[in-house]
Protein backbone atom coordinates (compact mmCIF):
# COMPACT_ATOMS: atom_id res chain seq x y z
CA UNK A 1 0.00 0.00 0.00
CA UNK A 2 1.22 3.43 -0.83
CA UNK A 3 0.16 6.20 1.51
CA UNK A 4 -1.48 9.24 0.04
CA UNK A 5 0.30 12.40 1.10
CA UNK A 6 -1.81 15.25 2.50
CA UNK A 7 0.50 17.95 1.14
CA UNK A 8 3.92 18.16 -0.49
CA UNK A 9 4.30 21.85 0.29
CA UNK A 10 6.53 22.12 3.35
CA UNK A 11 7.64 25.40 5.00
CA UNK A 12 11.16 24.58 3.71
CA UNK A 13 9.86 24.42 0.13
CA UNK A 14 7.98 27.71 0.54
CA UNK A 15 11.10 29.38 1.94
CA UNK A 16 12.95 28.57 -1.31
CA UNK A 17 10.64 30.75 -3.43
CA UNK A 18 12.56 33.65 -4.97
CA UNK A 19 15.96 32.40 -3.78
CA UNK A 20 18.53 32.02 -6.56
CA UNK A 21 19.98 28.53 -6.72
CA UNK A 22 21.82 26.10 -8.95
CA UNK A 23 23.56 28.64 -11.17
CA UNK A 24 25.32 26.88 -14.01
CA UNK A 25 28.08 27.64 -16.51
CA UNK A 26 28.10 25.63 -19.77
CA UNK A 27 31.11 24.30 -21.62
CA UNK A 28 31.84 26.37 -24.75
CA UNK A 29 29.21 25.49 -27.34
CA UNK A 30 30.65 23.48 -30.23
CA UNK A 31 29.49 23.39 -33.83
CA UNK A 32 29.30 19.60 -33.68
CA UNK A 33 26.82 19.61 -30.83
CA UNK A 34 24.64 22.12 -32.66
CA UNK A 35 24.73 19.92 -35.78
CA UNK A 36 23.85 16.78 -33.82
CA UNK A 37 21.06 18.56 -31.91
CA UNK A 38 19.54 19.75 -35.18
CA UNK A 39 19.75 16.29 -36.76
CA UNK A 40 18.03 14.70 -33.72
CA UNK A 41 15.30 17.35 -33.58
CA UNK A 42 14.53 17.11 -37.32
CA UNK A 43 15.06 13.35 -37.78
CA UNK A 44 14.54 11.83 -40.36
CA UNK A 45 14.64 15.01 -42.48
CA UNK A 46 17.77 17.10 -42.94
CA UNK A 47 17.77 20.16 -40.67
CA UNK A 48 17.97 23.77 -41.97
CA UNK A 49 21.41 24.78 -43.24
CA UNK A 50 21.82 27.68 -40.80
CA UNK A 51 22.47 25.07 -38.10
CA UNK A 52 25.32 23.26 -39.85
CA UNK A 53 26.66 25.00 -42.99
CA UNK A 54 28.92 27.93 -42.06
CA UNK A 55 29.29 29.20 -45.67
CA UNK A 56 25.51 29.30 -46.02
CA UNK A 57 24.93 30.70 -42.55
CA UNK A 58 27.30 33.61 -43.33
CA UNK A 59 24.86 34.75 -46.03
CA UNK A 60 21.97 34.99 -43.55
CA UNK A 61 21.17 37.85 -41.16
CA UNK A 62 22.96 35.87 -38.44
CA UNK A 63 26.35 36.00 -40.19
CA UNK A 64 27.25 32.48 -39.06
CA UNK A 65 25.93 29.24 -37.63
CA UNK A 66 23.38 29.59 -34.85
CA UNK A 67 21.88 26.88 -32.65
CA UNK A 68 18.23 25.84 -32.89
CA UNK A 69 16.21 28.05 -30.50
CA UNK A 70 15.58 25.23 -28.01
CA UNK A 71 19.23 24.06 -27.95
CA UNK A 72 20.40 23.03 -24.47
CA UNK A 73 24.10 23.74 -23.83
CA UNK A 74 23.85 22.08 -20.40
CA UNK A 75 23.33 18.55 -21.66
CA UNK A 76 26.17 16.19 -20.73
CA UNK A 77 27.49 18.17 -17.73
CA UNK A 78 30.93 17.21 -16.44
CA UNK A 79 31.39 19.77 -13.66
CA UNK A 80 31.03 18.26 -10.21
CA UNK A 81 27.60 19.68 -9.45
CA UNK A 82 26.07 18.92 -12.84
CA UNK A 83 27.47 15.41 -13.15
CA UNK A 84 26.47 14.46 -9.60
CA UNK A 85 22.95 15.78 -10.21
CA UNK A 86 22.65 13.62 -13.36
CA UNK A 87 23.74 10.54 -11.42
CA UNK A 88 21.30 11.39 -8.63
CA UNK A 89 18.44 11.70 -11.13
CA UNK A 90 19.43 8.42 -12.74
CA UNK A 91 19.42 6.60 -9.40
CA UNK A 92 16.07 8.11 -8.35
CA UNK A 93 14.09 7.35 -11.47
CA UNK A 94 11.41 4.74 -11.82
CA UNK A 95 12.71 1.54 -13.34
CA UNK A 96 10.83 -1.31 -14.92
CA UNK A 97 10.23 -4.75 -13.43
CA UNK A 98 9.97 -3.42 -9.89
CA UNK A 99 7.97 -5.50 -7.45
CA UNK A 100 6.21 -2.44 -6.18
CA UNK A 101 4.79 0.65 -7.83
CA UNK A 102 6.96 3.70 -7.26
CA UNK A 103 6.07 5.82 -4.24
CA UNK A 104 3.94 8.98 -4.45
CA UNK A 105 6.08 12.10 -4.66
CA UNK A 106 9.01 10.35 -6.33
CA UNK A 107 7.62 10.46 -9.89
CA UNK A 108 8.14 13.55 -12.01
CA UNK A 109 6.67 14.85 -15.24
CA UNK A 110 7.55 17.86 -17.35
CA UNK A 111 4.41 20.01 -17.02
CA UNK A 112 5.25 22.72 -19.48
CA UNK A 113 7.62 25.47 -20.48
CA UNK A 114 7.42 29.10 -21.47
CA UNK A 115 10.42 30.91 -22.87
CA UNK A 116 11.24 34.40 -24.03
CA UNK A 117 14.12 34.45 -26.51
CA UNK A 118 16.44 37.44 -26.90
CA UNK A 119 19.52 36.26 -28.87
CA UNK A 120 20.49 32.98 -30.53
CA UNK A 121 23.22 30.74 -29.12
CA UNK A 122 26.33 30.57 -31.34
CA UNK A 123 29.37 28.30 -31.47
CA UNK A 124 31.89 29.39 -28.85
CA UNK A 125 29.29 30.82 -26.48
CA UNK A 126 29.63 30.01 -22.79
CA UNK A 127 26.16 30.16 -21.27
CA UNK A 128 25.49 31.00 -17.63
CA UNK A 129 22.13 30.49 -15.96
CA UNK A 130 20.60 31.81 -12.76
CA UNK A 131 17.49 30.00 -11.51
CA UNK A 132 14.90 30.58 -8.83
CA UNK A 133 11.73 28.86 -7.73
CA UNK A 134 8.86 31.28 -8.43
CA UNK A 135 5.71 29.29 -7.58
CA UNK A 136 4.55 26.11 -5.81
CA UNK A 137 0.99 24.77 -5.84
CA UNK A 138 -0.89 21.47 -5.64
CA UNK A 139 -3.64 19.84 -7.66
CA UNK A 140 -5.59 16.61 -7.40
CA UNK A 141 -4.93 14.47 -10.48
CA UNK A 142 -7.00 11.50 -11.64
CA UNK A 143 -4.84 8.40 -12.09
CA UNK A 144 -1.84 10.19 -10.61
CA UNK A 145 -3.27 11.37 -7.26
CA UNK A 146 -2.06 14.53 -5.54
CA UNK A 147 0.36 16.50 -7.71
CA UNK A 148 2.92 19.08 -6.63
CA UNK A 149 3.43 21.72 -9.30
CA UNK A 150 6.53 23.92 -9.14
CA UNK A 151 7.63 26.72 -11.45
CA UNK A 152 11.28 27.64 -11.85
CA UNK A 153 12.52 30.71 -13.73
CA UNK A 154 15.94 30.64 -15.35
CA UNK A 155 17.83 33.56 -16.95
CA UNK A 156 20.39 32.61 -19.60
CA UNK A 157 23.25 34.93 -20.53
CA UNK A 158 26.33 34.45 -22.71
CA UNK A 159 29.97 35.23 -21.87
CA UNK A 160 29.46 38.90 -22.80
CA UNK A 161 26.51 39.25 -20.46
CA UNK A 162 24.09 39.34 -23.38
CA UNK A 163 20.64 38.01 -22.43
CA UNK A 164 19.88 34.80 -24.37
CA UNK A 165 16.56 33.67 -22.90
CA UNK A 166 14.34 33.64 -19.84
CA UNK A 167 12.61 30.32 -19.35
CA UNK A 168 9.97 29.20 -16.88
CA UNK A 169 9.67 25.45 -16.44
CA UNK A 170 6.74 23.70 -14.76
CA UNK A 171 7.56 20.44 -13.01
CA UNK A 172 4.98 17.98 -11.71
CA UNK A 173 5.66 15.53 -8.88
CA UNK A 174 3.13 12.87 -8.06
Amino acid sequence: MTERPISYITPELRARIGVEHGNRVSSPVERGEIRRWAIAAYWPERPPMMYWDEAYAKTTRWGGIIAPPDFNPFAWPIDEEGFDEKVRQWRQQTRGNQQQKSQPGTRTLNGGTRVEYFSPIRPGNVITTASKLIDVREREGGRTGLMLITETETRWTNERGQLIRISVGTSIRY
Binding site: W43, M49, Y56, R61, T94, E116
Partner: protein, 160 residues
Protein backbone atom coordinates in the same frame (compact mmCIF):
# COMPACT_ATOMS: atom_id res chain seq x y z
CA UNK B 1 25.12 15.10 -53.24
CA UNK B 2 26.16 18.71 -53.57
CA UNK B 3 24.35 21.00 -51.16
CA UNK B 4 22.97 24.11 -52.72
CA UNK B 5 23.73 27.29 -50.81
CA UNK B 6 20.65 29.28 -51.60
CA UNK B 7 19.17 31.86 -49.29
CA UNK B 8 15.68 30.76 -48.30
CA UNK B 9 12.85 33.03 -49.42
CA UNK B 10 12.31 35.70 -46.78
CA UNK B 11 8.96 35.80 -45.04
CA UNK B 12 8.11 39.44 -44.37
CA UNK B 13 5.64 40.73 -41.80
CA UNK B 14 3.54 42.24 -44.60
CA UNK B 15 3.07 38.71 -46.08
CA UNK B 16 1.38 37.48 -42.91
CA UNK B 17 -2.38 37.47 -42.39
CA UNK B 18 -4.25 36.91 -39.16
CA UNK B 19 -5.99 33.52 -39.31
CA UNK B 20 -3.29 32.02 -41.56
CA UNK B 21 -2.70 28.34 -40.85
CA UNK B 22 0.96 27.28 -41.06
CA UNK B 23 2.13 24.24 -43.07
CA UNK B 24 2.36 21.35 -40.61
CA UNK B 25 5.45 19.70 -39.12
CA UNK B 26 4.79 15.97 -38.69
CA UNK B 27 6.72 12.99 -37.33
CA UNK B 28 5.92 9.38 -36.48
CA UNK B 29 7.67 8.93 -33.15
CA UNK B 30 9.13 5.92 -31.42
CA UNK B 31 12.41 4.89 -29.81
CA UNK B 32 14.33 5.88 -32.98
CA UNK B 33 13.44 9.57 -32.48
CA UNK B 34 13.49 9.46 -28.68
CA UNK B 35 16.89 7.77 -28.45
CA UNK B 36 18.38 10.26 -30.87
CA UNK B 37 16.99 13.15 -28.87
CA UNK B 38 18.06 11.55 -25.58
CA UNK B 39 21.57 11.34 -27.01
CA UNK B 40 21.83 15.08 -27.68
CA UNK B 41 19.92 16.26 -24.60
CA UNK B 42 21.43 13.65 -22.24
CA UNK B 43 17.88 12.64 -21.39
CA UNK B 44 18.26 8.95 -20.65
CA UNK B 45 15.29 8.18 -18.43
CA UNK B 46 13.93 4.63 -18.23
CA UNK B 47 10.41 5.96 -18.88
CA UNK B 48 11.66 7.04 -22.34
CA UNK B 49 13.43 3.73 -23.01
CA UNK B 50 11.41 0.92 -21.49
CA UNK B 51 7.72 -0.13 -21.54
CA UNK B 52 7.99 -1.67 -18.09
CA UNK B 53 9.36 1.57 -16.63
CA UNK B 54 6.46 3.48 -18.18
CA UNK B 55 3.99 1.05 -16.59
CA UNK B 56 5.74 1.25 -13.23
CA UNK B 57 5.25 5.02 -13.44
CA UNK B 58 1.47 4.45 -13.77
CA UNK B 59 1.48 5.10 -17.53
CA UNK B 60 0.43 2.79 -20.40
CA UNK B 61 4.02 2.15 -21.47
CA UNK B 62 7.16 3.86 -22.71
CA UNK B 63 6.63 7.48 -23.74
CA UNK B 64 8.53 10.26 -25.46
CA UNK B 65 10.07 13.31 -23.82
CA UNK B 66 8.17 16.59 -23.73
CA UNK B 67 11.34 18.29 -24.92
CA UNK B 68 11.04 16.60 -28.34
CA UNK B 69 7.50 17.95 -28.80
CA UNK B 70 8.93 21.32 -27.74
CA UNK B 71 11.54 20.95 -30.50
CA UNK B 72 8.84 20.07 -33.07
CA UNK B 73 6.94 23.26 -32.18
CA UNK B 74 10.08 25.32 -32.80
CA UNK B 75 10.73 23.40 -36.03
CA UNK B 76 7.21 24.14 -37.24
CA UNK B 77 7.64 27.87 -36.70
CA UNK B 78 11.22 27.92 -38.02
CA UNK B 79 10.24 26.22 -41.29
CA UNK B 80 7.66 28.99 -41.76
CA UNK B 81 9.70 32.08 -40.81
CA UNK B 82 12.95 30.89 -42.43
CA UNK B 83 16.35 32.34 -41.65
CA UNK B 84 15.33 35.99 -41.31
CA UNK B 85 12.65 35.74 -38.66
CA UNK B 86 13.19 35.13 -34.96
CA UNK B 87 11.06 33.24 -32.43
CA UNK B 88 10.76 35.64 -29.48
CA UNK B 89 8.37 33.59 -27.34
CA UNK B 90 7.20 30.00 -27.04
CA UNK B 91 5.01 28.41 -24.40
CA UNK B 92 3.53 24.93 -24.10
CA UNK B 93 1.70 22.75 -21.60
CA UNK B 94 2.32 19.03 -21.83
CA UNK B 95 -1.11 17.45 -21.50
CA UNK B 96 -1.16 14.04 -23.15
CA UNK B 97 1.65 11.55 -23.38
CA UNK B 98 3.55 10.79 -26.59
CA UNK B 99 3.26 7.00 -26.80
CA UNK B 100 5.23 4.65 -29.05
CA UNK B 101 4.21 4.86 -32.70
CA UNK B 102 2.19 8.08 -32.31
CA UNK B 103 2.03 10.39 -35.31
CA UNK B 104 2.65 13.87 -33.93
CA UNK B 105 1.52 16.84 -35.98
CA UNK B 106 2.62 20.31 -34.92
CA UNK B 107 0.14 22.96 -36.05
CA UNK B 108 -0.17 26.72 -35.65
CA UNK B 109 -2.42 29.60 -36.62
CA UNK B 110 -1.65 33.31 -36.68
CA UNK B 111 -3.85 35.04 -34.11
CA UNK B 112 -2.54 38.60 -34.27
CA UNK B 113 0.01 40.77 -36.06
CA UNK B 114 1.23 44.07 -34.67
CA UNK B 115 4.05 46.61 -34.49
CA UNK B 116 5.63 47.42 -31.15
CA UNK B 117 8.43 49.97 -30.77
CA UNK B 118 9.09 49.74 -34.48
CA UNK B 119 9.46 45.94 -34.36
CA UNK B 120 7.14 43.68 -36.34
CA UNK B 121 5.52 40.73 -34.55
CA UNK B 122 2.97 37.98 -35.08
CA UNK B 123 1.36 35.88 -32.34
CA UNK B 124 0.44 32.25 -32.95
CA UNK B 125 -1.67 29.59 -31.33
CA UNK B 126 0.41 26.45 -31.58
CA UNK B 127 -0.22 22.85 -30.61
CA UNK B 128 0.79 19.25 -31.21
CA UNK B 129 -1.88 16.70 -32.12
CA UNK B 130 -1.59 12.93 -32.09
CA UNK B 131 -3.15 10.63 -34.73
CA UNK B 132 -6.45 10.65 -32.81
CA UNK B 133 -6.66 14.42 -33.15
CA UNK B 134 -5.99 14.92 -29.44
CA UNK B 135 -4.20 18.12 -28.54
CA UNK B 136 -1.28 16.86 -26.45
CA UNK B 137 0.51 20.15 -26.15
CA UNK B 138 -1.34 23.47 -26.41
CA UNK B 139 0.81 26.58 -26.56
CA UNK B 140 1.46 30.06 -27.89
CA UNK B 141 4.33 31.59 -29.82
CA UNK B 142 5.45 35.02 -30.96
CA UNK B 143 7.73 35.71 -33.91
CA UNK B 144 9.54 38.83 -35.02
CA UNK B 145 9.68 39.24 -38.78
CA UNK B 146 11.50 41.56 -41.14
CA UNK B 147 9.35 44.26 -42.72
CA UNK B 148 9.45 45.44 -46.31
CA UNK B 149 9.70 48.96 -44.87
CA UNK B 150 13.05 48.37 -43.19
CA UNK B 151 16.55 47.54 -44.39
CA UNK B 152 17.49 43.84 -44.16
CA UNK B 153 18.62 43.13 -40.62
CA UNK B 154 22.04 41.71 -40.03
CA UNK B 155 22.89 40.46 -36.59
CA UNK B 156 26.51 39.49 -37.03
CA UNK B 157 28.27 38.30 -33.90
CA UNK B 158 30.57 40.84 -32.31
CA UNK B 159 34.24 39.97 -32.03
CA UNK B 160 34.99 39.46 -28.37
Amino acid sequence: MATKRVQAATLCWEDVQEGYVLPIFQRITDLMNWNRFAAVNDEFLYIHMDDEAGKTANQPGVFGMGNLRWAYMHNLVTQWIGDSGFITKMAADYRGLNLKGDTLTARARVTKKYVENGRHFADLDIWVENQRGENTCPGQATVELPSTTEKPKRTVPRKS
